[in-house]
Amino acid sequence: MNLQQIIDRLNLTVLTESQDFAGIAPTGGYSSDLLSCVMAGARKGHLWITLQAHLNIVAVAALNEVAAIIITENAQPDHASIAKANQQGVILLSTPQTTYEVNGRLWELGVRN
């Protein structure tokens, strides 16, 4: 399951610059709103599902080299966060669904690591 398919199936909004999402294959996922837990738990290539939308999630995602952040419940990052994400090559995706729903959908799609 590549990222483009995930974006299509979950109807996610892409907040950062478009790129070759079909060439990115997320290896699994991690869900938490606590940044220290994400630092410890998320792995390179994971999707990170959170309702945090402020600037610091970009640094955490970049350090962990996660494949993308899925921001839930329509939480909206500000312009500076999106600009920084573009600069650092971090993909920001957004959805009105809850973290719980997104986790369930991803699990159904076979993203289970």
């Binding site: 940044l35 220290s36 630092m39 945090q52 610091n56 640094a59 970049a62 600069q87």
Partner: protein, 336 residues
């Protein structure tokens, strides 16, 4: 048909797009786009060009085209470009059975050229405007100095990208052998970062610089990752909890990496409690941002081999962490 006399190009006068570049522009420019401005036409063109003269019979030109497998060539008189002749022109001559006529009778005199000193982006836009496969290149005196095709441009960009890639490789190679040529009893590379209290906008910046440095030094990815988690937590603690910020320091030696975070207050009352998972003194505001999970020091302890926390209330805190490199390979070649 001739380029303007050698006046400064728009780019030389004003930078890209004829105006100063903003930071946002700079982020948006890809390396290939950058190269299309940096590379000059004379760097990628073919300089060895077959030419005809105005008085050359068309039959002779046809022979030149056939032998060199090309579909057209520039016509030159006294080193100056006076026209181009293509196969289509020869076909027109054939229809009138005039293959012995001089080139000047059938050549195209209105020639689109590009200047050798311009950036290849000019050639790209000219190619887009006029549907031609090749363009004559002239110098500031209107002398023909070469021909350029789209293929020349692609090749030039690829060669430049390859050079970029090699330079990064060399940089990495040099950094990963940093300590080998420096003879001392103990060589240490010290990286120091001043961290401001409350400056969440810069949170993680020092850690990402440290990550890049460790990679260049050839540190193992697992060790790099562990050090990064530890310094990120330390960096965020300086931002979240200190009165005046502090200093994050990394001392790199081939056999170990020492990380420290030092501040001058407020200090920690109980240096054992902070190692309890979930214990936090963060404010509600900070917790809302996802910090203050009470996992910071727990994370650090998990990621390093040694950790020491010294603090006194009202004076400040010093956190020291160490990670040992089993094969002593940071900044030293693995095969050496």
């Amino acid at each position: 048909m001739c380029p303007p006399a050698r006046t400064p190009t728009e780019q030389e006068k004003h930078g890209r797009h004829g105006r100063p570049i903003t930071d946002q522009d700079a982020h948006d420019i890809s390396r290939v786009e950058e190269l299309s401005y940096d590379l000059k036409i004379h760097e990628v063109m073919t300089a060895d060009v077959k030419t005809a003269t105005p008085d050359m019979p068309l039959s002779r030109v046809l022979e030149l085209l056939r032998l060199n497998r090309i579909s057209g060539l520039p016509v030159v008189e006294n080193e100056k470009l006076v026209g181009v002749l293509s196969l289509e022109d020869i076909v027109r001559a054939l229809q009138k059975n005039e293959l012995s006529a001089p080139t000047s009778r059938y050549m195209t005199r209105e020639v689109v050229t590009v200047a050798s000193y311009d950036s290849i982006v000019n050639a790209i836009s000219t190619f887009t405007e006029i549907q031609l496969g090749r363009l004559p290149v002239v110098d500031e005196n209107d002398r023909l100095v070469g021909m350029i095709t789209k293929g020349d441009i692609t090749r030039g960009i690829l060669v430049a990208l390859q050079k970029d890639y090699k330079e990064e490789e060399v940089r990495r190679y040099r950094a990963s052998h940093l300590f080998e040529d420096i003879i001392s009893e103990r060589t240490t590379l010290v990286l120091r970062y001043t961290i401001k209290a409350g400056d969440f906008t810069q949170g993680g910046k020092a850690s990402s610089h440290i990550k890049r440095a460790l990679r260049r030094l050839g540190a193992d990815p697992q060790i790099t990752r562990r050090c990064c988690i530890a310094v990120y937590e330390a960096e965020m603690n300086l931002i979240i909890h200190t009165t005046n910020g502090g200093v994050l320091k990394l001392e790199v030696e081939p056999h170990r990496i020492t990380m420290s975070a030092t501040d001058d207050g407020p200090g920690i009352a109980d240096t054992e409690m902070v190692f309890q998972p979930g214990y936090s003194t963060a404010t509600e505001h900070v917790r809302e941002m996802g910090f203050g999970a009470g996992m910071g020091l727990v994370n650090m302890k998990r990621c390093v081999d040694e950790i020491k926390l010294e603090s006194s209330v009202g004076k400040g805190t010093k956190l020291l962490m160490r990670t040992f490199i089993p094969d002593h390979t940071v900044g030293v070649s693995r095969d050496g």
